[in-house]
């Protein structure tokens, strides 16, 4: 019996929630949304504070070491203090959602906030979104753990955390919700959507309470003509190319940096210094770059086709240097920056080629470029569309947004089938969506498939005695164990001894030891089912003995596997 004092830790037992566990998730969603919203605001505020504090030193010649120091400290912090891997961390969240029921460590709820703050605040080119997503997700996961919720509920709360974080940092509830479902959870179901929506609302509300209801990039109304929509097709292609370029660059840089013999913080420092050096020429590559986006959308960004093109490429380089070499942060904000530079570049290019055409303002193209970039990079077209609509407060650009986002996603999917977040997982074979063969096999364990109704025999049995056992058995395979030690010796299969069964002379002259097969394929209880099945397929076996530490524990057969596999699939497939 659970003491009353701890009863509040098991809300699933409260009468109200027993009535309907969806209510429980909604209430939890509010808590998670508020917490992750707060986490997002903490990072946002500390970034601003840090940028302000360092602003005074930006004009010194040695300012280029600032990003180096920041990245180094961030890498040191991750490596030595909290012992977490470098990188942006969203794949870890997705991996945990897919394979471990959303289990995340508690320290993930703050570690990335600090490291990202160091990297970005000092000038590294990265985004604060991935860190807040991780910390929101970790908060959700740990709240679920604290209240002893099951894995399905925990996954939903991880989604709630991500939704609350994105909603709070952008003041954009719909984007938060869609990001969580499209990118983090990857599955649309009514069970998930409602708590996640509630969490997004809670996160947004926290953000509005504490820093006012501001739209990040408000703008004037654009007058979009048909010709502009046509031009967007070109922009979609440009952003797709940029997405692929950024993906490849990031991975390339990561490959180059890991090949060096330097320790992690050295690498991060080199990357940071390189970004700092780049910033001497193009200072806008520094930081998450929202200031640049703002000026582009309002049309105040310095004129010139070349500067837009150069910035677009420089930002890709700076982001790859920062993240590829070990800095901490996300790719979301860099995507937006690169996207808006692409839009700017495209508009300026069109205006210079066809100056007579009344092109819409470059700010409009910058918006659309952002959606294209997010769509292409994350392969999440809806997130791109809704985020841009919300952070710019403009519904008037929705048509080209949808178009560019969809086309860019499609083009990127053609070249890079997995999104940037999923690429690592897909490569390691760990991207296992529910209801797929890999996932069903990963979930089932050998233990659940064991057939224990086998009759175990020992090697000193005469054929006559064995035939008496066969009479009473229902199976064709008999494991042989050592009479004294109980060690597994081999298998006797009826198929092998069929000819001798009718030979009376052999009844009292042959021992099982002479009849059994010693070289048999076996499986271990801890083996992966996929591996076992592979073995069965290549050797054309229908059943395998399972041996644990030299002892027979049961048989594993394809027939039982099929039964269990179908049940698992039925339960996993959303209905």
């Amino acid at each position: 019996m659970i003491p009353m004092k701890r009863f509040w830790r098991y809300p699933a037992k409260w009468a109200l929630f027993r009535w309907d566990d969806r209510l429980l998730l909604i209430v939890m969603g509010v808590i998670v949304g508020v917490c992750s919203g707060l986490a997002a605001l903490v990072l946002n505020r500390s970034l601003i504070a840090m940028l302000d504090a360092l602003h005074a030193y930006r004009h010194f010649w040695w300012a280029f070491v600032l990003p180096a120091v920041g990245a180094m400290l961030s890498a040191l912090f991750l490596e030595k203090i909290v012992k977490e891997g470098p990188g942006h961390g969203v794949p870890e969240v997705i991996d945990s959602v897919l394979r471990y029921g959303g289990l995340l460590r508690f320290r993930s709820s703050f570690s990335r906030l600090i490291s990202a703050c160091l990297t970005i605040g000092s000038g590294g080119s990265a985004g604060p979104e991935a860190p807040v997503v991780i910390s929101g997700s970790a908060i959700g996961s740990n709240i679920a753990g604290f209240f002893s919720l099951n894995e399905r509920q925990r996954v939903t709360l991880v989604g709630c955390g991500a939704a609350g974080a994105i909603a709070a940092i952008f003041n954009a509830p719909i984007s938060g919700m869609i990001f969580a479902i499209e990118v983090i959870i990857g599955q649309w179901s009514a069970l998930n959507i409602i708590p996640i929506a509630i969490a997004a609302v809670a996160g947004t509300q926290v953000s509005r309470r504490l820093q006012g209801n501001q739209i990040a990039f408000s703008h004037r109304v654009f007058d979009i003509g048909f010709i502009d929509i046509l031009a967007c097709l070109g922009l979609a292609m440009l952003t797709a190319v940029m997405s692929i370029l950024l993906t490849r660059m990031l991975r390339k840089m990561h490959g180059v940096s890991t090949r060096t013999d330097l320790s992690v913080w050295y690498r991060a420092a080199i990357g940071g210094a390189a970004v700092g050096g780049l910033a001497i020429l193009l200072p806008d590559v520094l930081g998450e770059g929202y200031h640049a986006i703002g000026s582009m959308i309002s049309g105040h960004y310095p004129k010139g086709l070349a500067i837009a093109g150069a910035m677009m490429l420089a930002k890709i380089l700076a982001t790859s240097l920062t993240l590829g070499w070990g800095g901490s942060g996300g790719i979301f904000a860099p995507c937006l920056v690169i996207g808006s530079f692409s839009g700017l570049f495209w508009q300026r290019f069109l205006s210079s080629v066809w100056p007579a055409v009344p092109w819409v303002d470059e700010g409009c193209f910058a918006l659309i470029g952002m959606a294209g970039m997010v769509g292409g990079m994350l392969q999440a077209p809806l997130t791109g569309i809704f985020l841009i609509v919300e952070i710019t407060g403009g519904y008037d650009v929705i048509l080209p947004l949808i178009l560019v986002s969809a086309i860019s996603t499609a083009l990127c999917h053609y070249v890079e089938p997995a999104s940037f977040y999923l690429k690592d997982l897909v490569e390691k074979g760990r991207f296992l969506l529910p209801g797929t063969d890999g996932r069903v096999l990963a979930d089932l364990s050998v233990d659940e498939l064991l057939e224990k109704d086998c009759i175990v025999v020992h090697q000193n049995l005469l054929l006559r005695e064995f035939i008496n056992i066969v009479k009473k058995s229902h199976r064709n395979h008999f494991p042989v164990e050592d009479e004294k030690t109980g060690q597994f010796l081999g298998m006797v299969s009826l198929d092998d001894i069929r000819p001798f069964l009718f030979d009376v002379v052999m009844y009292d002259t042959v021992f099982l030891e002479q009849l059994m097969r010693k070289q048999v394929e076996t499986a271990d209880p801890d083996d992966d089912l996929a591996v076992i099945l592979q073995k069965m397929d290549t050797k054309h076996l229908y059943s395998l003995p399972v041996i644990d530490n030299g002892r027979f524990v049961g048989m594993l057969s394809k027939a039982t596997l099929l039964d269990q596999y179908r049940r698992e699939l039925r339960v996993q497939t959303p209905y």
Binding site: R18, G101, N150, V571
Partner: protein
Amino acid sequence: MIFSGNEYLTENRHANEWIRFGKTAADSRMNLTIEKLAQALELPAATVERWIRQGRIPIRRNGADCVFNQSALEKWAKTHNLPFALPGKTVESKSVEAPETLFEAMSRGGVHHGIKGDTVESVLQSAVDRIDFLHAPARSELYQRLVEREALASTGIGRGVGIPHPRTPIPGGIEQPVIVTCFLEKPVEYRAVDDQPVFVLFILINTTIQQHLRLLSRLSYCMRSDEFVRFLRTTPGSEAFLNTIDEFEKRLDSADS
């Protein structure tokens, strides 16, 4: 009161007793051990445990027990096409009957002596006439079928023994298997496998094929024994014969186990 459910959940009640029978179906809640529930769902306990942990099944853990809402679980099982039958709710498979023995079947059939006749048909006719527990139409049907069976292949299994029987059980004739033992007045040429004339017939009348095979196998065990055949040649009386059968069956059972 928000904690009202606690006592119901932690109380350790008998497995299939209703813990609470509320006004609505949503309130009917049950406590079962994982093993019992796994049996009800026809799944390994490890799978049920994992599904609960993963939240795939509408059940909550409470220590070793599962707490669930029966109607919700039934509905869930139905939508996922899984079996779900609580123990004790369905009638258990009928109590397994003790397998039929020769002794019982032969006691029911009776032992007859001095069956007359010179041919297969005539001995069968006079043997069937002795069967008093069948009425006349059933007897003639049985005779027809026995003759049909003999026409296919002789049932003389050698050593002077014949086991006439219908090829398939006679529908609606008898309720339990019966073996009628008939010692012939004089041995009759029966086209037996070893060409020896037959001096005793065991007429096997069964209700199912399984019983037929089982009794046949037990009879053939006895026939393999020289001692038994020698005993048959003495044309024993009813009581002595049945006692010997009983004794042989006991030997057979002890050899089997």
